[in-house]
Symmetry: C2
Subunit: 169 residues, 2 copies
């Protein structure tokens, strides 16, 4: 390495001066970072999940749990392997997730009579009711916030582009 072991702080325009009223901590320049797709995508995703969790606080549903409920409602009678793989969740990791939903009586595992190895997944009545409330919360608080921020047309364009990336990148 070619750098010396100690160094002065680079001559600074605001912090170094005594007459300046102790300028702010001077935000860093993002530079090319703000043009990196991955960087912006990740930060946006974190913000969206954070907002989602706030909106769902009363129902205590994470994005992953919500996605399972949605998928099981739309596809009742599928087994764990099918549901998990559709969501990109590995079978072993899906077990605890389901244990949680089942312990809260939102979802049920039913031993299939066709193939006694597999567990058929179904929403319970409570699960359907909770999901219905969850959908309303998402629509009115979460997705509404997005529309407010981007506008309806942009929202659709964004979703389409993200889908394209998710499926074809």
């Amino acid at each position: 390495m070619t750098v010396s072991k100690t160094a002065e702080k680079p001559a600074d325009a605001t912090k170094g001066r005594k007459d300046a009223p102790e300028g702010l901590p001077e935000a860093l320049q993002l530079g090319e970072l703000s043009e990196q797709l991955g960087y912006v995508l990740k930060r946006a995703q974190l913000k969206v999940f954070e907002n989602f969790l706030r909106c769902m606080a009363s129902l205590q549903l994470t994005p992953a749990q919500f996605s399972v409920l949605l998928l099981v409602e739309k596809n009742p009678g599928r087994n764990q392997t099918e549901v998990a793989s559709t969501l990109g969740i590995l079978r072993p990791n899906f077990v605890a997730l389901l244990d949680n939903l089942e312990s809260r009586d939102l979802c049920a595992r039913i031993r299939s009579t066709n193939d006694r190895r597999s567990h058929i997944l179904v929403l319970t009545d409570k699960g359907k009711a909770v999901l219905a409330r969850a959908k309303k919360l998402v629509a009115t608080k979460h997705e509404a916030r997005l529309k407010e921020l981007l506008g309806q047309a942009n929202r659709e364009a964004l979703l389409e582009m993200l889908s394209k990336i998710a499926n074809e990148f």
Copy 2:
């Protein structure tokens, strides 16, 4: 719960019949899931990171490491707290990340003479060279793929919307 403990598989149009040539595993219906911002956003982000790692395989740089190098290059002379917080990384977690970059001689910690508590961060010559190669790889392999997929105009629109979400959601 109101569901019975066992159940027949729902009468199936393809798999149940003996005369059909054993239809495909029948993909699940995503339904409303494909309209959920968080879901699509997360899947897109995973794909993008995956592609990034492939493009960077020869340099062994993760997205987080690349972002640190970019930020330190653009803002030499800042300390760990400043760089970490700008990237949304907690100070304790930033230590190991820096240990890695420093052990590979890409980045150096220099004890500041102004404030002997803090470590000034600088890229080494090797760090600058590696970063330059990394930028080229990202531009030609990674971001180019995005342009090819969305087109230049859409790419810019996407980045702008994601930035808006990251900053204002």
